[in-house]
Structures are given as C-alpha cells and as structure tokens.
Amino acid sequence: MLKQIMQIDRRIIFILVALAVIIPTLLKVSFPITISEPTRKLYDYIEDLPSGSTVLIAFDYGPSSMAELQPMGTAFLRHCFQKKIRVIGMTLVTEGATLGYETMQEAAKTTGAIDGVDYVYLGFRPGTIQVMLGMGTTINNIFESDYKEKPLAEIPMMEGIKNYDQIDLVLDLASSSTTEAWITYINTRYNQKIAAGVTGVIISQMYPYLQTEQLIGLMSGLLGAAEYETLIETPAKATKRMSVQSFVHLLVFGLVILGNVAFFIQKRENENV
C-alpha cells in the first residue's frame, strides 16, 4: 500500500489536477479575498491622484502569462478610467503589442473611455532599455505615432505630455526582468514612481524594491489581480480564477504532505528491518 502511494502513476495526478481545474470552474465557487499591503498601496496611490493625472502602463508580457497579468491590467485601467486619470499604454515585448491593445480596448468599452482623449496606446518599439531612456527625453522621439499610426502630435491627450516629468506613475505588468530595468534606469535616473504587477514566479524578486519604496505598490500574481478587483468592487476574471487556483494549490499541498508522510513511514520501516 505504502509503495503504491509512493509510486502513484503520474497520470492519476494529471487527472486530479484536471478535476481541480474543471470542477471549481463549473461550480463557480468563490472565496473571500484578503487584501495584501503592496496591492493596497498601489490602489491608494491611484485613489489619491487628482483627475487629469497621467499614468503609463507597460504590457511587458506574452500570451503564456496573460492569464495572470491581463486581469491586473483590466482592473487597473478600470480604476484609472473611473477616476478620470489619463493612461498611456505601451509594451517592450513584441508579443505584448496585441495583448496590450486588447486590454485597453476592453477596459475602455466598459468605462466609456475615449481613445485619444482618456487613453493612448503606443504599441511596441524594439530596444528595451534604450526605449525607456529615450522616453525620458521625449516620448515623441521614440513613438512618433500611436498603435493605429496616428501621429502623436494630432492626439489631444498627448498635448503637454513630453516625457516622464508629466507622468505620475509607471505600472509595469511583467513576466520577466523588465520591472527591474524600469527601477534601475527610470526610477533611479528620473525619480519616476514605479509600480508593478508580476507573475507568481517572480514576486519574491520584487520585495527588496518594495521595502526601499523604489516600487510604490505591487500586484502579486493572479491573487494580486483578484485583490485589485476586490478593491475597485468589480469582481471579474481574477476573482473567478481564484477558486481554481485555490483548489489546485490545495491539491498540491495535500500531495506534498501525503508524499512526505509515506516517505517517513517507509524510512522508519527500512530502519527497523
């Protein structure tokens, strides 16, 4: 019996994971969300900004991370649009161009934000650090036109926005090291306020920057997105997906405990023989 538990067929584990995903999705279970301090700080920062302020959001991720990061983008954009905060969207990742555009369109549709007045989507330019630094001089020099190839000079929202001096916050939605680059080059050089929303696997890397306040706030993985949705009182995709994450985490937790219990019993039996 013990040996069977220790050598359980991995296909059984795959089926259990599949069930832990499918059942909560079908049953639409929901759990109360506890708000973490880093997410609350980001929310409070946006709450305190006067209407007419400008934030820049960088969609630095591809489709593999969109399940975690897109809900963050949507919730954050909704909050900004509701507060009449102007948003500039861009990406440093090739694959992020279409994803960022879709996210901005989706949030604008639900809040009535107008392209060119309440938000501008600039799209992608190659050269991560050079793009960041170049925007510190003039945004127009890097992005001559928006995603739909309309010159920035003809966009009413961009009037008076020259560089980071007119931007109150940069939010980086990242699945790689771009947040660290934003901090290293833009926070340090231009004293620009930076916040981030990152995938679960890299949240531990962000905590040193949170403590030094080089990051003013952080959304950590899908849970961070669900927390932001809770704060703006608009439960959406992340809140729904929390039930799936909960059951899968619980399953892995149980499997690790079970594996270790079996391991120790077998170890004791071997020692007694």
């Binding site: 994971v17 279409t98 799209g123 040193p208 909960s246 985490h249 391991f263």
Partner: protein
C-alpha cells in the same frame, strides 16, 4: 586592428558614458541623447540578425533531413504568413490580430498551462524533507503556496479559533523577511559583480565578448 578598434571604442564609450552621468552640462546631455538615438537605430538590426539565424538554422535542418525536419516548414509558413500580413497592413490590422489571438495566443498559453500538471507531479515525487535545508524549503513553500490562495485563510479561520488569516499573514512575513534579506544579498552580490566586470571590459582586461577565446 580587428581587436584594437573594438577595444578602443569600448574604452571611449564606456568612460564617456560614465562621465556623462556626473555632468549636467548641455553638451553632456546632447551627447547622451545622441548615443541613445544611435543605440535605438542599432537595436532593430538584432531582430534582422535573429530572423536570418532562424532561417539559416531551419534551412539547414531541411537540407540535411535532420530529425523532425518537417516541422521546420511550419516555422517558415508561420513566419511568412505573419510577415506577409504584418508588414503591409501593420499589427493593428484585423487579420494580424486574428492570427495572433486565435493561433499564437492559445498555443503559447497551452504550452505554459501544461506546467501545472508537471509541477504537481514533480512536487509529489521530489519534494521530500530529506535534510534540514530541504525541510525549511518545504515548509516555506507550503506556507507561501497555501497563503497565496484564499482557501488557505478560509479553512484556517473555520477550524482555528485564533490567528485570523494566518496563512496569508505568514506568507507575507516570509516574503518580507527571510526572502527579502536573501534577495538583497543576491542583488548586492550581482551588482558588485556587474560593476567589476564592466570595469574589466572598459579597460580591455576582459575580452571574451570579442570572440576568439582569450
């Protein structure tokens, strides 16, 4: 000459860029902006180089009939279709967006989603408390994992009369204390390494970036 010219360029640009950081003079700002503009022009050439390498690699695979050479045709078809639509019409065109949304996005997301199954299986088999270090890692991982899902707090609050939301509080403590301390150590170590390596490159002591082995 093949070595001296790059070494001299590296030295001049390295020293000038360091000095620019400490000078607020208009000439210094002008030079800084010029260098940024140059590098913005140079960067897209890396994409060209990437595409050329990709084409070369897969062309050789097809010519040599290497294992699974047929899949290289899929690479070429995908690349040609996206370029044929992307270059004349731009990435915001409906056809380009459709291909990205309904072909690339599901394929990419599917590959990443498979990780959930393999991680569950691997953690069951390999995550054992064999040593003290492994036990500490295991306990920290379990706390962070369960604290990262609302069900952790829910179960704890139902069965325990004390310590409301303890799993998420404990997760936060682990991230803000042991994790932060060790991460800071890593960041400081890496930064010192980067500074010393940069000085070696600027002074021409480290030359491996030139190729040739020394």
């Amino acid at each position: 000459m093949r070595r001296q010219v790059p070494l001299a360029l590296c030295f001049v640009f390295g020293v000038v860029m360091v000095l620019i950081e400490f000078s607020p003079h208009p000439y210094s700002k002008f030079l800084y902006n010029e260098v940024i503009n140059w590098s913005l022009i140079i960067t897209p050439f890396a994409l060209v180089l990437g595409v050329a390498t990709l084409v070369q690699t897969h062309w050789i695979r097809i010519r040599r009939r290497a294992e699974y050479w047929q899949y290289s045709f899929v690479v070429f078809i995908g690349m040609i279709v996206m370029v044929a639509i992307g270059i004349p019409f731009g990435p915001s065109h409906k056809a380009f967006a459709w291909l990205f949304k309904y072909i690339q996005t599901p394929m990419d997301a599917t590959m990443f989603s498979l990780l959930a199954f393999f991680i569950a299986s691997a953690s069951y088999r390999a995550f054992r408390a064999r040593t003290l270090e492994a036990t500490l890692l295991l306990v920290a991982a379990l706390i962070v994992m369960i604290g990262n899902a609302p069900i952790g707090d829910l179960i704890w609050n139902k069965i325990m009369p004390f310590g409301e939301n303890l799993p998420s509080t404990a997760r936060q403590w682990i991230l803000e204390n042991p994790n932060l301390s060790s991460r800071r150590g890593v960041i400081l170590g890496v930064s010192l390494g980067v500074i010393s390596q940069s000085i070696r490159i600027i002074l021409g002591i480290e030359r491996s970036y030139l190729g040739g082995g020394d």
